[in-house]
């Protein structure tokens, strides 16, 4: 589903490579943790997958297609197949839960009938069926992350990229979020999650790719944090 072939990326202003000659092959339906300290290249790995960044060298395949060859007007189509969630949720504060989720469908031109049926269903799935009319700042952090997951998943993407989704949440809430991501993974969606939450990684026992200074130092099935 995602394959990196000799991918390197350096940010000119930093001078050190964010990712160096990385090889990885993530198959459909996998759940993969990217671990490593801050600045080890986890976010760059994720940002390369949905073409928010371009690699300096190497090739990246998503669903069998070399995304380096993708013309810029096709990038939105790529992103429709890749959901993204973040540590800071990136919710729109002036929109309600339902509107935030509907927004993702609206801006890719889905008809209103689809929005009317999909939005309540997905809100129910993430456990916010009774909070659809609330604004984000009326929700707890965990609930806000659920909204952002609903928004990322409402379009039924093939891949879900999660960049430290539990970074701002307490351990108890984090477990709930992980259960939700696990459920989404069970529907066949490939999940790639960057995390430095040792407890979560150790509990889930999924495949672990460890990065250190931009280099993949470990790729282990059913691994632990270190």
């Amino acid at each position: 589903m995602i394959r990196l072939e000799g991918v390197s990326k350096e940010y000119p202003e930093q001078g050190v490579p964010a990712l160096r000659d990385a090889y990885a092959d993530i198959t459909k339906g996998e759940f993969v943790f990217l671990v490593g300290p801050s600045g080890s290249g986890k976010s760059t790995f994720l940002r390369l997958c949905n073409k928010q960044e371009e690699p300096d060298t190497g090739r990246i395949f998503v669903a069998g297609k070399d995304i380096g060859q993708l013309s810029s007007w096709k990038v939105p189509m790529l992103r429709r197949n890749i959901g993204s969630i973040f540590q800071d949720f990136k919710l729109l504060p002036t929109k309600t839960v339902a509107e935030n989720v509907a927004f993702a469908l609206e801006v890719i031109g889905r008809p209103r009938s689809v929005i009317r049926t999909q939005v309540p269903a997905i809100c129910e799935l993430v456990g916010l069926g009774d909070k659809m009319a609330k604004l984000p700042d009326q929700l707890s952090g965990g609930e806000q992350q659920r909204v952002s997951i609903a928004r990322a998943f409402v379009n039924r993407p093939l891949i879900l990229l999660a960049d430290e989704p539990t970074g701002n949440l307490d351990p108890q809430t984090s477990i709930g979020i992980m259960r939700l991501l696990d459920r989404i993974n069970k529907t066949g969606t490939t999940v790639v999650m960057a995390s430095h939450d040792r407890g979560i990684v150790d509990t889930m026992r999924k495949r672990v790719i460890e990065l250190s200074n931009g280099v993949i130092v470990r790729d282990q099935a059913r691994g632990v944090y270190e």
Partner: protein, 297 residues
């Protein structure tokens, strides 16, 4: 990429009212620059109309003395018939002139009472062939020397003066209009950039979930287009007002040619449409550039 009209309207409306002071500033700048442009176009077309009249063969009038001898009239007629510069001429006798006089002063009977038919001078109305002001003048001077000729009236001096003046002033105005159009486009650019900045989070989300660039761009461009159109609309009012001022000013002038300086409503509609198009382009392009630069960043 399917746009839902309600989405488009909502987004554009929200943008427009999110930052009212900036919207108003953009609209007014567009209005001012387009007013200048409209004024320049108005004057240019006015000069064009006057020149057209001139080119069609502006008349000049040869006024005879009241007690003119028949032989003097014949001498002038012969000269006019023989002159290669004269396309046509017409002798306006006492009666015809008096009728014109009566109709001209029909609303002031006092004046009519003062003047009787035998006090009315006769005249030649001459339509020259040549469009060159100089040669028309030279014929005029020649006729002036004939016996029995009181005066020769030209429109040419005034026409020349006014077209020189207008040409100069409309060039300056076009420059001013160009400069303020650039200012308008830049202000529009800044206004939209601010709007884009205020919505950067939304745009980030839109890009992440796979909205196309055009989908993100079009509401902003529509906002710029609307601002440009409103500004153009305001400028059309000032063009109409200016034309009305010309109309009033030139209505008092002696020669018909100048009355054409003020344009008809249908001519102004042409200018209005041009202003609308320029305003819309100014707005949409300024906005489009502003958003695109943000999207590529």
């Amino acid at each position: 990429m399917a746009f839902r009209p309600d989405y488009l309207l909502r987004e554009t409306g929200q943008n427009l009212f999110r930052n009212p002071s900036l919207s108003v500033a953009s609209i007014l700048t567009v209005a001012v620059s387009l007013s200048l442009m409209g004024a320049a176009l108005l004057i240019q077309q006015g000069v064009g109309e006057v020149n057209k009249y001139f080119r069609d063969g502006v008349e000049f009038n040869v006024w005879m003395n009241i007690d003119v001898e028949q032989e003097h009239i014949e001498a002038v007629s012969n000269f006019l018939s023989d002159s290669p510069y004269v396309r046509q001429w017409e002798y306006v006798g006492t009666e015809a002139t008096y009728r014109e006089f009566q109709s001209y002063y029909s609303d002031t009977p006092d004046v009519l009472e003062l003047v009787s038919a035998d006090q009315i001078p006769t005249s030649f109305r001459v339509t020259p062939n040549d469009v060159e002001v100089d040669s028309i003048e030279s014929i005029g001077r020649e006729i002036e020397n004939y016996a029995g000729v009181k005066d020769v009236n030209f429109a040419s001096d005034d026409i020349k003066a006014i077209s020189d003046f207008s040409r100069g002033s409309s060039t300056i105005m076009l420059f001013a209009a160009g400069a303020s159009a650039i200012a308008a486009a830049l202000l529009m650019y800044n206004s939209i950039r601010t709007a884009v900045f205020a919505r950067r989070r939304e745009i980030e989300v839109m890009r992440l979930v796979g909205a196309t660039k055009w989908f993100i761009r079009i509401p902003f461009m529509l906002e710029g287009l609307l601002q440009g159109l409103i500004g153009a609309f305001l400028s059309i009012f000032s063009v109409f007002a200016l034309n009305r001022a010309f109309e009033n000013f030139f209505a008092d002038q002696d020669f018909y040619a100048f009355r054409d300086f003020a344009l008809s409503v249908s001519d102004i509609m042409g200018i209005a449409i041009a202003l609308m198009i320029v305003g819309a382009m100014l707005g949409a392009v300024g906005a489009g550039v502003a958003v695109t630069r943000y999207l590529d960043a």
